[in-house]
Amino acid sequence: METLNQAQFIILGSAVLILGGLALFIYSILKKEQDFQKKEATTFTKYNDILRKAEDQARQLLDSTSASSARLLEESRTTSEHIEVDLDRILQKIAQEHIQKLNTDTTNFEGAYNQRLEQFQQDFTVMSKQLLEHAEATMTKQIGEATTAITTRTSHSQSLLEQQMQALLAQVETEIQEHKKGRIAAIDSEVRQLVDKTYREVLKQSMPTSIDQKLILEGLAKAKAQGGITL
């Protein structure tokens, strides 16, 4: 077997150390996990105890509450029966008092009402008579005034209407005159144009060709005399 040299020894030592460290690390993780699981189991047991206690307490409370309710119910039923009898009696008494009071008040009110009604009838008759008299006088007066106003207005309206009619008539007459004038002017113009056109056409047809030469040569002679032609 060959002896290990220094370098190989160092590598081997390092490997052993690393492996040792790794084993230690895994062991610590496993340990932590085990502790955590133990702690969790303890916590769970505690929670269960607490829940069981709370359930017992709740059941006891429910039982005592039920018992109290039953007792209270029994007591209230007895009280109600007493109250009911008392209330009946009081109500009957109040009702009798009210009926008596109502009867008295009704009798009193009926008398007063009849008296007031009679007074009102008398007052109304007087007032109606006065009102009728006043209304008659007012109406007679107003009818008289209206009649006068209508008569005045009618005569005014008539004269106004007459004036407007006159003005309208004058305006219409003027418009008719203007329209007539315009139409006559238009017809006049049309006739003139027609006559002019016919006249020109007739002239064109009847004019001897010699007139062309005459007009041109005379015109040229005139232009030359005025010194107007430059060739």
Partner: protein, 161 residues
């Protein structure tokens, strides 16, 4: 050979309008072409190429200016001068109410020849609305001798009434 040597007034019977002048120029052009083809121009060739009056006139001009039909250079110069002389004739634009008769055109040309000592070319146009007479235009100046204008000028005061 200057242009002034040509007296075109004898052409009055043949040359009235700008249209006549164009025809004459075409004829002279034809004659020039003939000369290049044949090498010379004889009286017979002239009479075959040009209208009778123009042929007579050109023959006379050639005789007057001693132009022989055999000298090609001289003949070409003569034809060019003649064409230029026609081109330089004054043009009188004449718008008439009706198509004119030849005598009318001759009389107008005669008037210009007598009055201004020159042959003029008439550029004829027709406008029936003129009724009678016509409108003359010379170098952008207008002279209206139409019956239409005469009537219009006499009618205007009536319309204003």
């Amino acid at each position: 050979m200057s242009l002034q040597i040509f007296d075109l007034s004898p052409m009055q019977k043949y040359l009235h309008t700008t249209n006549d002048a164009r025809q004459m120029q075409t004829a002279l052009q034809r004659m020039s072409e003939k000369m290049f083809t044949t090498g010379s121009i004889t009286t017979e060739v002239l009479q075959q190429t040009l209208p009778y009056e123009l042929a007579t006139f050109v023959t006379r001009l050639m005789q007057e200016h001693k132009v022989t039909g055999k000298d090609r250079v001289q003949l070409q110069s003569f034809l060019t001068s003649l064409t230029n002389a026609v081109n330089n004739l004054p043009v009188v634009a004449l718008t008439l109410a009706r198509p004119p008769q030849v005598t009318f055109l001759q009389n107008v040309q005669e008037w210009f020849l007598r009055s201004y000592n020159t042959l003029v070319l008439l550029d004829i146009a027709i406008d029936a609305s003129l009724i009678a007479g016509g409108v003359i235009s010379i170098k952008g100046k207008y002279y209206d001798y139409s019956l239409k204008t005469l009537l219009d000028s006499t009618q205007k005061p009536v319309e204003k009434k």
